[in-house]
Amino acid sequence: MSYLTLSTGIAFALLVLVLAVTLLFHRARARRPHAHYTHGDGLSARLLTAAVALTLFLAIDVTLAVRATQHLRERFWNYPDADPNALRVEVTARQWAWTFRTAGPDGRFATPDDVVTLGDLHVPIGRPVYLKLRAKDVVHSLYLPNFRTKIDAIPGSTTRLWFQADEAGRFEIGCAQHCGVSHYKMRGWLIAAPEDAYRGWLARAETDSRLRYDPADVTAHEGWDWETGR
């Protein structure tokens, strides 16, 4: 983002400079009774305008678009579909909470051994975390401020996001899309831990989830098959 702030900062500084010069010096005064008469439609004026506009366009817009496209293709939109090592998580958003579901020992979603947590997303550091999101009621947006990213969760569709934690810690999860009166309370925690600690937590969570599983409570069976979406 430094190129973004730098390039737009320079453009803004130039604007302020020209504005300051004209406002300080090009005012109606005794020794400047009237303005320089020009319509600014001569060839040189037009060439100058075009040259400045083109320079700004190339230096800021084109550069930003190219860099952003690169980043998107290499990183943000390059989902770890082929990476068996990635932690896959199904996220269900509802007013006003996040539910996180991992596949459990059988490696398949929407089975009784799924590991389900409410509000807390536990991840290991050093490997990709791959989220797929759905919403039960209204549009929400999973927001990871420390990871500088977010993705909407939309009723009727499945969206996805991936990131990787490289440091252990507790990072806040927010909702970024207005989702009703208690939107501001729709928080959660991302708990990133070293692989060992994560596995220790996972073992306890698997037991918890197995004990909590209720075959009759079908509304709680929110998982779906990772690949087919059914």
Partner: protein, 581 residues
Amino acid sequence: MTASPPPPDAAAPSHAASPSPSWVSRVFSTDHKVIGKQFLFLGLAFLAVGGVMAMLIRWQLARPGQPVPLVGRLLFPGAGGVISPAAYTSLFTMHGTIMIFFAVTPILIGGFGNFCVPLLIGTRDMAFPRLNMLSFWTMAVATATLTASFFVPLGAAQSGWTAYATLSTAIGAPGAGQTMWTVAIYFNGVSTVMGAVNYITTVVRLRAPGMSWFRLPLTVWGFFLTSILNALFVPVIAAAMVLLFFDRVFGTQFFIAGSTIRAGGDPILYQHLFWLFGHPEVYILILPAWGIVSDLLSFFARKPAFGYRVTVWSLIGVVVLSCVVYGHHMFTTGMSPLLGESFMVLTMIISVPTSLLFLNWLGTLWRGAARMRTPMLFCVGLVFTFGIGGLTGLYLADIVADQYLHDTYFVVGHFHLIMAAALLLASFAAVYFWFPKMFGRMMSERLGKLHFWPTFLALNVVFGGQLLIGWAGMQRRLYDPSAYEFLAHLLPWNVWISRAAYVLGAAQLVFVVNFFVSLRWGKPASANPWEVGTLEWTLPSPPPHHNFDVIPTVVRGPHELGHPDALARGKDWLGQDEVVS
């Protein structure tokens, strides 16, 4: 110059031209100048309402959960003067709705569009005077519906001014307030389209002889191009409102889907419809402002507008491109990479005509002989704030930056710098500039400057501060940001932003005083107090009912300031219809 009776002219639009019009013919007037003033007063009244809501929002963000002083117990009696989460949600929803649809739209397009377009092109009224009247009264129905929605059970709409489905359907908003909101926006749109058709026809058909397209004041270009966008895209939101109304009232499922609600609709469809209108809407509002500022910078720099034709083609370029950039509002909906990258590139391209426009403004100021009167101050202020607003738009067009900044206060600061700061500065410039022509009296320069400086400084602190707390990650539309640990340290920032906002609000009282005092006691205005050449200034202030005794013949463009022929005659401007022998 004195008003003289209209000459018998079969081509003149029919008026009830009695010398002392009755109450009915004054209220239900077909005179574009009266209708313009009606829109202006309506817009200014709702600007005050929306402004008070902004103050309440700022109070809650600075002092979360504390009772509002002075008016709290009156406004929120059930909660002991505290703004509840539900009330707060209604406040930001209605603040946005009112400011965009019921304040800025009527002030700029309804008010100044009506007042200026016929006068500036040299005709006696709009092409369809009765449609014009109907446009105002349709807007009145919309405002009445919106106002009534505050008093129904569950209160006014709460799904944000964007009213994203499914939050705005019965799933998220069961009350009648949201339904009335869709009706109000629909009628607001009907009014706007009536106006748009009228402006387009008027500019195409009723220009005075010699008023060729490239002799039009840029103000008229602004209103004309805005009207084209209005005619094309307001029907899109009207359609979205109809579908949303059906979903809410008749149980259809255009926008409803979900894992618990099995239905065939798609909430994303609503976002497409909304932003297909919503992004052009930004340009709908800013084009008149750009036109007005382009003219006024020339008038007060005493110099022809730099690169007039390039400016016109840039405005047209913005209009064309504005139709194909709306997807940048939806970068976080998981749109396909092809769509995302296309919208990013198209959004970047729209900065080319915008920067040409900007460079022409600076070119106009360069080597001018600027008279720093109140309208000029507001225009220069606009150039500055629009500079920040425009450049921060690049951050949001860049998808990598946007996926962090989307739905944060960075977005709020960015669009307020344009939709609030730039549009208000342009609106105030227009009021100070045309007030003498509208009401026949000058506004006070001293109070005008006293209005400008706190307004300009405070709005940069408010919206600049919003950019910073957005950069720090604070989301929009949070009742209490300190619910988040990572936002708790921003409270002092919010306190200072709120203080600046109160200054901004208080500064508007200077404008209110100036407006009403000048209306009654202002210095009587001469026909041409600003010494400029566009056609409205050839008329007495205020102009007679029929505007022009004789339709003028236009011989030159609108910005002949500092022309050698004029200097030879001991002044520095030439009128558009002035014959120099």
